[in-house]
């Protein structure tokens, strides 16, 4: 047995900082099995399966192209508008799903949490990793779209190079940021559910406050300092830099505040979550 002689000490009002990370790593097999469960069961009993994710991304980008580019005439920073929106959607949708996972982590796992002890961070972590399936499907769709675009115009108009290898870093930051904000909402809505109502509103607010459907170059230079403190602005613009070749905000001026805010939000969320999980089953 792997931890036969481990001593466990239960008491009230433990420090906010005790994260019990050693427990987390001891349950890595659970993490693996939960991810497998999500992947195996995610498209059960659907006819089109993963194609819904493809359709969702394509339809979304098509609608944006018509509404924002054709009708509202919002600039797409010189990028082909359909690809511009598609690249924005890929980054945004992964953030959205991780944010949702975090925001409902305590509430949606009550069935497990109220019956057996295991590190409470495992389910949100595994779900965030499983959500990458959709992300990668959409990324493949994007690459296909780029290929088709290059075929129909100049073969070298969009070149994907070594920068693609930086995508995992962006994924990591998105996941940490989404979980961080999500945990804050989840922990604070344990006793009073008002905040979980705000979740939908909040998601929209973040989306329009982030250069998802517009490029940051559309914003007057003097307001850029505000955008610097929106950690997601840097992430979305970096996806554009990597996938489409150029953007405004993929530089250190944006990167440093973005990473800093991400880390602060994540630890704040983690501590609240850790505090809440200890006795939240009494309230839900």
């Amino acid at each position: 047995m792997t931890f036969t002689n481990k001593e466990t000490y239960i008491k009230s009002n433990r420090s906010w900082m005790e994260l019990e990370l050693s427990d987390f790593f001891r349950y890595k097999d659970l993490l693996y099995l939960l991810i497998r469960r999500d992947l195996v069961t995610s498209y059960k009993q659907t006819i089109l399966g993963p194609f819904w994710v493809v359709i969702q991304a394509l339809m979304g980008s098509a609608v944006f192209t018509v509404v924002f580019s054709e009708i509202a005439k919002i600039s797409t920073d010189g990028h082909p508008s359909f690809l511009f929106y598609l690249s924005g959607m890929i980054g945004w949708q992964y953030f959205g799903s991780v944010f949702g996972i975090g925001a409902y982590s305590l509430q949606s796992n009550i069935g497990l949490y109220s019956k057996v002890y295991f590190p409470r961070l495992i389910p949100p972590t595994s779900q965030s990793i499983s959500a990458l399936l959709n992300f990668f499907i959409q990324l493949i769709v994007f690459f296909l779209a780029v290929y088709i675009y290059n075929q129909s115009t100049d073969p070298n108009s969009i070149i994907l190079d070594y920068k693609v290898l930086l995508i995992p870093l962006l994924i990591l930051q998105t996941a940490i940021l989404g979980l961080g904000i999500g945990f804050i909402i989840s922990s604070l809505s344990v006793k009073y559910r008002d905040l979980s109502r705000v979740y939908g509103l909040f998601t929209q607010f973040i989306m329009y406050g982030t250069p998802v459907i517009y490029p940051i170059s559309e914003i007057p230079e003097k307001y850029h300092y505000i955008m610097m403190w929106n950690p997601l602005a840097f992430v979305i613009e970096s996806y554009r830099e990597i996938l489409l070749g150029h953007s405004t905000a993929c530089n250190l001026n944006f990167a440093l505040p973005s990473v800093l805010v991400t880390i602060i939000l994540f630890f704040f969320g983690l501590i609240l979550f850790n505090k809440a999980q200890r006795s939240y089953v009494d309230f839900v």
């Binding site: 047995m1 792997t2 931890f3 036969t4 002689n5 481990k6 001593e7 466990t8 000490y9 239960i10 008491k11 009230s12 009002n13 433990r14 001891r26 349950y27 097999d29 659970l30 693996y32 099995l33 939960l34 497998r36 469960r37 195996v40 069961t41 059960k44 009993q45 069935g111 497990l112 949490y113 109220s114 019956k115 057996v116 002890y117 295991f118 006793k191 009073y192 200890r278 006795s279 089953v281 009494d282 309230f283």
Partner: protein, 419 residues
């Protein structure tokens, strides 16, 4: 062997009653501000309920401890704290080794996954590694007797198969400390028997077991020690026999005089919506006077008052008799005797005639319940509503001394013909 494996020290748990809303939020803010400024608010809110009050005990390695008590006594709260599902309000507990707590069987099972996949998932929830599970998977499948279906999604399983598989995983966790909450109450009789013997096997390997049950026969046959909890406090810790008899005599507090009346605000179970409420139960002897002393072989009567809150077509009313050690020795149900299950809203009164008491000398408890036969759980249940005693034996007018045949338990009425 005899070192302390679990040490519980002045464990308390407080719950807040009522709904959370603006009122409790304002109260929270006040407490928060008081904590910030360092002033003590002093006055505790009235809406608080102490589920556990400074509970202390220790368990040695290899012991099997039964925890008993009435509903709401604090047993489940204790188990939840020991299983680290919630934390205590004050006090502490310490234990060595891995704990597997079975507060439910089949936690985390996913219907779309096969039996085999679920074994791995469920095992890993309890902290086993994939390697450890792989080494046990064959004996789990064998114990659960689901060999043919092991690669079928569990949503196609019968409920019996599902429970067998879930228990099989639990029984193979091999933790140092096993905590069980009433999970033995599932499955058919044969499977329950195998569960009990499996638990015995687990204990023989020196594992410590804590078990909560309302089944006194299980506690009595299986445990080395018994902890009786009432209103959040331990009121007995030690001999199993004495613990059980003290627990059963608590039921007697309800009535010792052959009469039980529903106390105000009495809640027997947590149904949101019930069809019926048992108002009063009265026991009469053959002369028609209220009593708790009855004679074997003689008739007796129960007068039952029932309030129907919602019209129903499926109401069963059951009268059960339990022996002093908790074993149920008889059950009578209205519909078995051909009576209607249809009831209109309002008060109903019944007189139930039992023509001949088959039980021998001793103490018994009477339980009355109602159940809508389309539902899973009892509608209302007055557990051990009253106790009664069989004092002497009058069988067909002859009085015998049956004490020599005590273990016979009961007398079956028989007619003898010479051929």
């Amino acid at each position: 062997m005899n070192k302390n494996i679990i040490q519980v020290n002045k464990l308390s748990k407080e719950y807040r009653l009522g709904n959370f809303g603006l009122g409790t939020f304002i109260e929270d803010c006040k407490t928060f501000l008081a904590n910030l400024t360092g002033t003590k608010t002093g006055k505790a809110s009235k809406n608080r309920f102490q589920a556990l009050k400074e509970v202390s005990f220790s368990v040695s390695e290899g012991e099997v401890v039964g925890i008993i008590g009435r509903n709401g006594a604090g047993k489940s709260t204790l188990l939840k704290i020991l299983s680290r599902i919630t934390e205590p309000s004050s006090g502490s507990a310490r234990y060595t080794g891995r704990v597997a707590s079975l507060l439910e069987v089949g936690t985390g099972f996913h219907g779309d996954m096969t039996g085999r996949e679920n074994i791995f998932l469920n095992g890993s929830l309890y902290g086993l590694t994939r390697k450890e599970i792989a080494s046990k998977v064959d004996s789990i499948i064998e114990f659960a007797q689901v060999q043919e279906f092991i690669d079928t999604p569990v949503k196609r399983y019968s409920s019996g198969m599902f429970v067998r598989l879930a228990f099989a995983v639990a029984a193979h966790l091999e933790p140092e400390i096993l905590i069980i909450d009433e999970v033995l109450a599932v499955g058919d009789a044969d499977f329950q028997k195998r569960c009990i013997s499996k638990m015995g096997e687990i204990n023989k390997t020196g594992k410590t077991i804590l078990i909560v049950s309302h089944n006194m026969a299980t506690i009595g046959s299986f445990c080395d020690r018994c902890i009786l909890i009432d209103q959040g406090r331990i009121i007995h810790d030690g001999s199993v026999e004495r613990g059980i008899s003290q627990y059963l005599s608590m039921g007697r507090v309800n009535s010792q005089h052959g009469f039980w009346k529903r106390p105000k605000n009495f809640v027997s179970n947590k149904l949101d919506e019930r069809y019926s409420e048992i108002q009063s139960i009265e026991m009469l002897d053959d002369t028609g006077s209220q009593t708790h002393l009855l004679k074997c072989g003689m008739p007796f009567f129960i007068i039952l008052e029932l309030k129907i809150l919602k019209k129903t077509d499926y109401l069963d009313i059951g009268i059960a008799v339990n022996r002093h050690d908790g074993i149920q020795v008889s059950l009578s149900i209205n519909s078995w005797e051909g009576n209607t299950k249809h009831f209109e809203v309002g008060k109903h009164k019944f007189k139930i005639n039992f023509p001949s008491i088959p039980f021998l000398n001793g103490n018994y408890n009477l339980t009355v319940w109602t159940k809508d036969s389309t539902q899973d759980s009892n509608d209302d249940c007055i557990q051990n509503a009253m106790s009664f005693e069989i004092i002497d034996h009058n069988f067909n007018g002859h009085i015998f001394d049956f004490s020599a045949h005590y273990h016979a338990g009961s007398i079956l009425k028989s007619n003898w013909y010479k051929l």
